[in-house]
Structure formats: structure tokens, C-alpha cells
């Protein structure tokens, strides 16, 4: 299994380069790589004990693959697979597939790392690969969005590096566990880097524009898996060190509230999805123990929604309400929206129930409010007018295979937590959705409040980093 793990980590990078050499096989090679990742994650689920690989003497450079990693890897494999299928009949060149697979590989490696330096390297490779896929259309806007993304994540990672060496200074080891003996400033610096990278709370304000202005398939990739690479190390730290658990839970709740309060007012479908990603990242952090399942359902449903939003006739909800969308598209949208709102029969329900069960009491009421907010946000999709007829944009077979793959997995992964199906949970889920829809129809549908985008300007984003740093330092010292 150890050899297999190493082979699996290096494979995507190798394939990435081979795609350049054999550009005709690009899609097939890329698809094969994601299938291998899928198989590996399933194999990992069947392992009873975690796989540990000590790479470098005793400086704490090591890899650990366990059940939590398996969920994240499965998400990554499925989302990348769906994106490749979505682009099957497009005119994307081998360059795109090569970068997508390198991105896939670097995300995979974050999910098995257990020390700060390996995580750093993997996160930086993600930044570079993500920059290249965002800038793929070569338009001015895509270049600016990509540049902004790379700039912000690189600055955050520089702070992270200072934190990493402080951990080394205290323990002579880069392992996550060393955070315990490290000075508070190390913790603040490392967390600041990861919060920015993962799009958590106010440091996540770079995320809406990056995710909404990218191409459809890139948005799906970014929202589905790339941000998860930023929060995985946070979850790992919270699970290894008991002391950090309350901090991560607090950040989770704050992020969930922050993201959803933007999402309910948003009038642009892709921006709404992006803000909603922030709020869902909060859900994942709110209960670190069961974060794997939530990540899986969120990754699948969000990439599916981004792919669907890409083929809608307009991005503006006001315009969408004026025209009817084809029934087939509407059904897919409704299934995905139901899953994310936590409707029974779809795995979003199980994931929400499992997360709720693992909350500490003070979190519960706020997370429930956020769940209502989610239902409000997605009522915007559910109540779109629909009719028979064809879509104006031609929908390819690859598109439908991708959507069906994602939605079918959402049904199947119900099996992870079947115990969720009891009466109180069912009533609660329906009540939350009912309340959300009612609020949407009565209040939010007519409301036209436009939230300022000033805070998303580049200089403010960088400035916000210093504020986050001070806040974190303050919390850690307290």
C-alpha cells in the first residue's frame, strides 16, 4: 500500500507532462488519471488503519492517508472527472487538460500531507496550476482574475512560511503536531495563510470574483475542490490538537454566517454560488470530526450547480425570472438545490444531519439559521419559470454525463449515514426548507438590496490580511 500511495501521488504529475508529449490522448489520459484516483480513494476507505509514510528522517516530513483523506480524494476525483467530461466536446487544447491534471495531483497531495512544508509546496503548486487554468481564455478579465488570485495566495503563503519556520524552531520538526509547542505567533501566521487560501471568513472575500468570473468548468473545479485544499490542513490540525478545536469551530460558524448573509442578497447566480461556497466551508469547519462527508456532498453539488449555471441563458436572476428554462435543466437544478438545502433522499440531508449531531451546543442555533439561509438562497433556483423545449445553448452528451455522474453519486452517498433517516431529522429538514422558501417568497424575492463590492478590491484584500493576522494573534493569546 505504501508503494501504491507514492505511485498514485506522482502519477498525475507524470501524466501532466505526458499529455504535452501526446496531445491527441489528452482527454483519455486525464480521465484515466481521475479514475485511478477514484479507485485509490475507495481502496483507502477499505483500510482499517491509516497509512503513514515517514519521508525524511525525523524532521516530521510525513504523509498520512486515512478515512478523512479518502473523502477528500474521492471528491477531488469525481469533480475533476465531471469537469473533463464536461469539456469532452469543447475545443480545449492539451494545455488545459495537462494543467487540470497537475492541479488534480497537487490537490491530492495536500490531502495526504501531514507537515507544514509538504502542504506549503502542494498549495503553491495549486496556486500556479489554478492561475494557468483561470487564465486559459487569455482575455483581459481572466488574466486579471488569475493574477489577483496568484498575488493574494502567494502573499498569504509567505506569512505561512514564517509560521512554519517558527514551528521548526520550537520543535526541530515540521509536523502538524508541533503546533502545540510552538509560540502563538506561529499559529496565527500559519492559520492566516490557510484561512486566505481556503477562503474562510473575511479573508475569503477574494473568492466570489475568482469563482464567478472564471469559465464555467474552472469555477466548478475551484469551488468544488481547490478551496478544500486550503481548509484540509486546518481540519487536520483541529483533529490532532484538541486545543485548536474551539477556534476552528468558531471560525466555522462565523464563516457560515458571513457567506450566507451575502448569498441571500446576491442577484447574480454565479456570485451567489461563490458566496454560498464560503458559507458551506463554514459548515465543514464547524464539525471537524465529520467534515469528510460534508466535503464530499458539497464538492459534488457545488460543481454540479456551477456547470448548470454556466448553461443558463443569463447570470442575472431578474432576467432568468422573465424567461423559461428547459425542463431538463430545471430538474437537474432542483435536484442539486434540494441536496444542498438538505432535502431527504439526497446526501445533503445526511451530511447536514451528521454535522448537526456533532456540533457543540452554542453552535447549534446559528448553524440552523444558516441552513434556513441556504434554503432561501437556493429557492432562487427552485422557483425559476420552466417549460418544455430546447436550450438555446446546445447541450452536449458530455455535459449530461457529467451532471448525471455528480447527481447519481449524491444519491448513492446517502449510504454513508443512513441513521439520519428518523422522524425528528426529517421534520427538521422539511421545516428548515419550508421556512426558507416562505421567507424567499414573502421577503427576499422582491428585495433589491445591493451589497457593496468595495471590500473585494485588491488593496482591501491585502489590508484585510493584516487585520486577520492581528485578530488571530489576539484570539490565540487570549
Amino acid at each position: 500500500m505504501n508503494t501504491l500511495t507514492i505511485a498514485w501521488i506522482s502519477l498525475p504529475f507524470l501524466i501532466g507532462f505526458i499529455i504535452y508529449l501526446l496531445p491527441r490522448l489528452d482527454k483519455y489520459l486525464a480521465l484515466a488519471t481521475t479514475i485511478i484516483s477514484l479507485a485509490y480513494s475507495l481502496l483507502l476507505f477499505s483500510q482499517s488503519s491509516p497509512i503513514t509514510l515517514n519521508l525524511l528522517d525525523n524532521y516530521g516530513v510525513k504523509l498520512v492517508a486515512d478515512q478523512l483523506s479518502a473523502y477528500f480524494i474521492l471528491t477531488n476525483a469525481l469533480v475533476t472527472m465531471a469537469v473533463i467530461l464536461y469539456n469532452w466536446e469543447s475545443s480545449k487544447t492539451a494545455f488545459f487538460y495537462a494543467q487540470a491534471i497537475i492541479l488534480h495531483g497537487s490537490i491530492n497531495s495536500v490531502f495526504v500531507c501531514e507537515d507544514f512544508i509538504s502542504v506549503y509546496v502542494a498549495l503553491e503548486v495549486i496556486s500556479i496550476a489554478a492561475f494557468l487554468v483561470i487564465a486559459y481564455p487569455r482575455s483581459d478579465r481572466s488574466l486579471w482574475v488569475a493574477l489577483r488570485y496568484l498575488f493574494i495566495s502567494n502573499v498569504a503563503m509567505l506569512f505561512y512560511l514564517i509560521g512554519a519556520v517558527l514551528v521548526y524552531k520550537a520543535n526541530n520538526s515540521f509536523a502538524f503536531a508541533g503546533l502545540k509547542g510552538a509560540p502563538p505567533e506561529a499559529l496565527a501566521l500559519i492559520f492566516m495563510g490557510l484561512l486566505v487560501k481556503g477562503g474562510i471568513f473575511v479573508s475569503g472575500l477574494w473568492l466570489p470574483m475568482t469563482h464567478s468570473e472564471s469559465e464555467t468548468s474552472v469555477s466548478a473545479l475551484m469551488s468544488g475542490v481547490v478551496v478544500k485544499a486550503g481548509i484540509f490542513p486546518l481540519l487536520r490540525c483541529a483533529l490532532i490538537l484538541e486545543d485548536l478545536d474551539p477556534l476552528i469551530r468558531l471560525l466555522g460558524v462565523l464563516t457560515a454566517i458571513f457567506g450566507v448573509s451575502y448569498a441571500v442578497f446576491e442577484k447574480d447566480s454565479k456570485r451567489m454560488l461563490a458566496f454560498h461556497t464560503i458559507s458551506q466551508l463554514g459548515f465543514i469547519l464547524a464539525a471537524p470530526v465529520v467534515s469528510g462527508f460534508y466535503t464530499l456532498t458539497h464538492g459534488l453539488v457545488k460543481s454540479c450547480l456551477f456547470l448548470l449555471a454556466g448553461v443558463l441563458p443569463s447570470r442575472n436572476f431578474k432576467e432568468l425570472q422573465q424567461q423559461s428554462i428547459p425542463n431538463s435543466l430545471w430538474i437537474a437544478l432542483v435536484v442539486a438545490s434540494f441536496s444542498i438545502s438538505g432535502f431527504p433522499l439526497l446526501s445533503g440531508f445526511g451530511a447536514k444531519a451528521l454535522t448537526m449531531k456533532n456540533l457543540v451546543p452554542w453552535q447549534e442555533i446559528m448553524i440552523n439559521l444558516v441552513a434556513v439561509g441556504t434554503a432561501i438562497s437556493f429557492a432562487k433556483f427552485v422557483f425559476l419559470p420552466h417549460a418544455g423545449g430546447e436550450s438555446k445553448q446546445k447541450l452536449t452528451i458530455g455535459f449530461w454525463i457529467a451532471i448525471i455522474l455528480l447527481l447519481a453519486t449524491l444519491f448513492l452517498s446517502n449510504a454513508v449515514y443512513v441513521e439520519a433517516y428518523n422522524l425528528p431529522n426529517l421534520i427538521k429538514a422539511l421545516a428548515v426548507i419550508g421556512a426558507g422558501w416562505l421567507l424567499y417568497l414573502v421577503v427576499f424575492k422582491k428585495l433589491s438590496l445591493k451589497l457593496s463590492r468595495v471590500w473585494e478590491q485588491f488593496d482591501h484584500l491585502i489590508g484585510m490580511m493584516s487585520i486577520t493576522l492581528v485578530l488571530l494573534f489576539w484570539i490565540v493569546l487570549a
Binding site: 524532521y59 512544508i117 506549503y120 509546496v121 503553491e124 503548486v125 496556486s127 500556479i128 492561475f131 494557468l132 487564465a135 487569455r138 483581459d140 478579465r141 488574466l143 486579471w144 482574475v145 488569475a146 493574477l147 489577483r148 496568484l150 498575488f151 502567494n154 502573499v155 509567505l158 512560511l161 514564517i162 519556520v165 521548526y168 524552531k169 526541530n172 515540521f174 470574483m209 468570473e213 463590492r453 478590491q457 485588491f458 488593496d459 491585502i462 489590508g463 493584516s466
Partner: protein, 115 residues
């Protein structure tokens, strides 16, 4: 008392770079400020690795006691390479942007490319 002084300089460099990133208006200057910041971070790794000594950690015939710690140096080499490639990528991006709209003012570029 040499090390604290060195650390002070290193952190001053990091801070200058960081301030430059949002105080400078020109996009190229922002990127250079980021480079200053990363130089500071790299220097900090070197300072940390020279805590116990300054000698190159290579085994030779003459036994030295005060070797420098090789691990942070090895680690920061990777970071230098990554930083360099990111810098190169960003400059190429800026070149392309500046060719299409003849300005390097970041606020201007941002205004043109934000919906």
C-alpha cells in the same frame, strides 16, 4: 546579541515588502514589493538555521562543532524556486495586460476588469 538584531532587520524587510504591496500603485512595483517580502522570509530561514553555528554542514576531515542547521536551508531552497516561478508567471501576466490596456496602474486595471 547579534541574532535579535538580525531578526529585527529581517522582519523590517518583510514589513516593508508587505506595506509596498498595497501602498504602491504600479502593478510592477507591487510585484517587486512582494519579492522584497519573500526575500525577508528567505533571510529569516537562513537566520534560524544559523542559530547553532555558521559552518557549512558537510562532513570533512576537520571536525567542527558548530554546524549550521541544514534543514531550513534545504526547505527554503524549494520556496525560492517556487517564488521565482510565481514571479515570472505574474510578470508575464502583467506584460500581456499592459499590452492590451496601456497602463500599469493597478486601480485602473482593476476598474476595467471588474464587472
Amino acid at each position: 546579541m547579534t541574532i535579535p538584531l538580525l531578526e529585527l532587520f529581517v522582519f523590517a524587510t518583510v514589513l516593508c515588502g508587505f506595506l509596498g504591496i498595497f501602498l504602491k500603485k504600479n502593478l510592477i512595483m507591487k510585484i517587486i514589493a512582494m519579492d522584497v517580502m519573500s526575500t525577508g522570509v528567505i533571510a529569516y530561514y537562513v537566520v534560524i538555521s544559523s542559530r547553532d553555528g555558521l559552518f557549512t554542514p558537510i562532513l570533512g576531515t576537520v571536525r567542527q562543532q558548530n554546524y549550521a542547521d541544514p534543514v531550513p536551508q534545504a526547505v527554503i531552497l524549494t520556496a525560492i524556486v517556487i517564488g521565482f516561478s510565481i514571479q515570472a508567471l505574474m510578470l508575464v501576466g502583467v506584460m500581456k495586460l499592459a499590452k492590451d490596456n496601456p497602463t500599469l496602474d493597478s486601480a485602473e486595471i482593476e476598474k476595467n476588469n471588474t464587472p
